[in-house]
């Protein structure tokens, strides 16, 4: 009987600031405590053995571990209790590391606080009850949101393991940003050669249901049992009939009149289009914002695309479709957006013709791009080219203090490609630091310098036009002298930013965004692909800027986590749910409307409220509001919390 208490030294992590012996002395005095020990590392094997032995010997009713955060090791010690055949919920932790020894310096006061926190844990532990975990079956399918290289890789890995995958991509084709590149740093692999086969695999895989030109509209449920609403936008082209001959696009009345977003507006397309010739699925799409039939209800005498399509695939009657699917896990692989240099007016990005963003310049080199891969800008071959690194990254003024992690290297790649196309071109990179941290990156950076690319330390502070040339002005901080150079082309090393809808998506998914706007991982080191919501994982740039190798690695890791959950077939849900004491419930129904998960159901016959165990997530909002005190929250009962309050206030 009673409470068994263990105080961890955590090496010196706790013991340096908290007098562990003193804590033991004080805790031993508590009448609830049967045994109190301290140990170097409670989470280690011998530490856990100690607990197990004591459980067998003393048969305590509950256990307190005073160590690190329960967010870190609660599950670990639950395992210890389980192995000793004890109910894993008869456990309470006192967080004397993260919330005590690591944040205080005064040993006496830290010790005093630690004693108080352990007392609080003991007070609660003495009132803990065994709880039975709810077990629910897992739907053996996954949702992957975003069809860039991250989403493609995750989807393929999960599908290969034998599970069904719904891959939702909002654009007409999968591929993401990688589909826009010609070569990739540092190996100069042809992007299309490594990406397009994977795209085709996605389309062909029997376990993958590709939902392109679709968006996730709603998500409900929890790990193992998510319900997802997918909204498929109308293409106004029958996917079944379209053979992608492209006759419609050639004939379209707006042919070559609409800025092509895939080429970052460096070329024009028709109102009916495929983003690029290797698109998957290779089906035409009508742009609803531009098509004359859709915007005006009329396209000449009859729509030219309809006349041109021998497959009769054009269908203006097509409506959006909403489909509901059930999945056990979700991978968020929604990638990134490019920083808009218009946010930095000194760069005159929109007023000057010869200034391009990083992604625009990628398109210039692409064989399927606006110049068919020729390095020609506004009809001329540029001879003098400048790159401006860190555009919109490491820049607090535009709210992006972080490093985008790819710009230094893509600038090196693009500078190399310039030299390859035009060996006598004069190429300068204006930088403030070069970060060549990846495998083979430093070597590549050196190679590019040897090829004759000039690196000048000093950021460009002003851009202006004179005599038809773009001038860049700034200060060379190594030479301590100002520079002012006229160039034929300025390429901005535009950074990676979160998508505009990242907060909205975060709320939809119940996952958090970190201060930079990207999705927050559950732990920066130990759980880099998990989110705080069980069953939802992150892959690729959705989590933060990264290059393709890191993206693919993370996508594989996310897939492994998904497979782990799906292969278990069932999951246990923490039994922290709300329970109604029907004797106390007066039937006022106040709680009902408060529950965010509609877990309440009023039993008209008995005049009392009932709560559904699987729907209830245990937030406790209803419990805090019930005027009759009829609702208690397992593991967070009023009496347990009152006991903690009393204990921390030395009562």
């Amino acid at each position: 009987m009673g409470v068994a208490v263990y105080i961890c030294h955590c090496g010196v992590n706790i013991a340096k600031t908290v007098d562990v012996k003193k804590v033991v002395e004080e805790i031993e005095k508590m009448p609830e405590v049967t045994i109190c020990r301290d140990y170097q590392y409670m989470c280690s094997d011998p530490g856990q053995e100690l607990v197990k032995k004591d459980i067998n010997k003393y048969q305590p009713s509950s256990v307190v571990i005073a160590a690190c955060s329960p967010r870190m090791h609660y599950p670990t010690f639950q395992g210890t209790l389980k192995e000793a055949k004890m109910n894993p919920y008869c456990l309470e932790m006192a967080n004397i590391r993260e919330q005590c020894s690591w944040v205080h310096e005064d040993k006496e006061r830290a010790t005093e606080k630690a004693i108080s926190l352990v007392k609080s844990a003991v007070a609660k532990a003495a009132l803990l009850e065994p709880l039975i975990e709810n077990e629910v079956p897992v739907t053996p399918a996954a949702l992957v949101i975003g069809g860039g290289i991250a989403g493609i890789q995750s989807a393929l890995d999960i599908a290969e393991a034998g599970y069904k995958v719904y891959l939702v991509e909002r654009e007409p084709s999968i591929g993401g940003h990688m589909a826009q590149f010609d070569k990739t740093f540092p190996t100069l692999d042809c992007a299309a050669c490594i990406l397009t086969p994977k795209m085709v695999d996605v389309a062909r895989h029997p376990n993958i249901e590709l939902r392109a030109y679709s968006e996730v509209e709603d998500i409900s449920g929890y790990i193992g049992n998510f319900k997802v609403k997918i909204r498929k936008k109308p293409r106004y082209v029958s996917e079944e009939h379209c053979v992608a001959c492209g006759d419609c696009a050639t004939e379209c009345r707006l042919a070559d009149r609409i800025p092509n977003e895939f080429d970052h507006n460096l070329s024009k397309r028709s109102a009916i289009y495929v983003p690029f010739p290797q698109a998957v699925p290779l089906k035409y799409t009508i742009d609803p914002d531009r098509c004359l039939m859709i915007t005006r209800g009329k396209c000449g005498k009859s729509p030219k695309c309809v006349d041109a399509c021998s497959a009769n695939a054009i269908d203006f009657e097509q409506k959006e479709e909403v489909e509901e699917v059930e999945v056990g896990t979700i991978v968020v692989a929604t990638g990134y957006s490019e920083f808009d240099p218009a946010q930095k007016p000194e760069l005159h990005f929109n007023d000057l013709g010869n200034v391009l963003t990083g992604l625009q310049f990628e398109r210039i080199f692409a064989p399927n791009g606006p110049t068919s891969g020729e390095l020609v800008i506004n009809g001329k071959v540029p001879k003098k080219i400048a790159f401006a690194s860190c555009t919109g990254s490491r820049d607090k003024r535009v709210g992006n203090p972080y490093c985008s992690r790819v710009c230094c290297m893509y600038i090196a790649k693009q500078a190399h490609l310039v030299k390859e196309h035009i060996p006598d071109a004069d190429v300068s990179v204006y930088y403030c630091d070069v970060r060549a941290f990846g495998k083979g990156y430093e070597e590549f950076y050196e190679r590019v310098q040897k090829e004759g690319v000039h690196y000048r330390r000093g950021l460009i502070s002003e851009v202006y036009e004179e005599d038809g040339r773009v001038h860049v002005r700034g200060e060379d901080s190594l030479m301590a002298e100002p520079f002012d150079e006229g160039v034929d082309l300025l390429v901005l090393g535009t950074g990676i930013i979160p998508n505009a809808d990242s907060n909205e998506m975060g709320q939809l998914l119940h996952i958090s965004n970190s201060s930079d706007g990207f999705y927050l991982e559950a732990h920066p080191k130990l759980r880099p692909v998990d989110t705080v919501t069980d069953g939802i994982f992150l892959a690729g740039c959705a989590q933060g800027p990264k290059d393709i190798p890191d993206t693919v690695a993370q996508a594989g890791a996310a897939a492994a986590h998904v497979i782990d959950v799906l292969s278990k077939g069932k999951i246990t849900i923490e039994p922290y749910n709300a329970v109604v004491d029907t004797d106390l419930c007066g039937g006022c129904r106040i709680c009902e409307s408060l529950c965010p998960f509609d877990a309440h159901h009023f039993n008209e016959e008995k005049g009392v409220m009932e709560i559904n165990d699987t729907l209830c997530k245990g937030c406790g909002v209803c419990g805090a509001a019930c005027p009759a005190g009829a609702i208690s929250l397992n593991h967070f009962r009023d009496t347990q919390i009152f006991a903690q309050i009393g204990a921390v206030l030395n009562d």
Binding site: N95, Q99, V103, H510, G620, V621, A625, I645
Partner: protein, 143 residues
């Protein structure tokens, strides 16, 4: 009790998902702050029953901190909005008991805001120190 020697006792109710994680982050980042707050973990700030707050003051707390996820970020979608709505009620309750409602504070601290958590604790400790001991602990009556 002199100003110098008065160390306020503050009870902090932190939601598990954001604020408790934020407090952990202050720890992993070794951000130092005052040891006056005793944290009680709840799953959501919405779990904080006004009775918990009253109980804390009754048992001698000089201040009570409730911390939850930022609006829109609650793990349970809307728990923190309910807490925010409840604050007015709780403040009025405290006034009736002769306790300065400034002794009760609601703060949003995300899992990424370790430094903010430290700041909130320091700031609150100093503000409560200025207010002096709670009348229940024999301090002068709060105006």
């Amino acid at each position: 009790m002199t100003e110098e020697s008065f160390e306020p006792k503050i009870v902090g109710f932190l939601c598990n998902w954001c604020s408790y994680a934020g407090a952990d982050l202050a720890g992993t980042s070794r951000t130092k702050y005052k040891p006056n707050v005793r944290v009680i973990r709840v799953m959501c700030s919405g779990r904080v029953d006004p009775l918990f707050v009253l109980k804390a003051f009754e048992k001698g707390a000089d201040g009570v901190l409730i911390a939850g996820c930022h609006p829109g970020d609650c793990h349970y979608m809307s728990g923190n909005y309910k807490t925010r709505r409840r604050m007015e009620l709780m403040r009025r309750m405290l006034e009736q008991f002769g306790i300065n409602p400034e002794r009760l504070r609601l703060e949003w601290v995300s899992a990424a805001e370790g430094a903010r958590f430290a700041h909130v604790v320091n700031d609150m400790t100093e503000k409560i120190r200025e207010l002096g001991p709670s009348p229940i602990n024999g301090g002068a009556t709060d105006e």
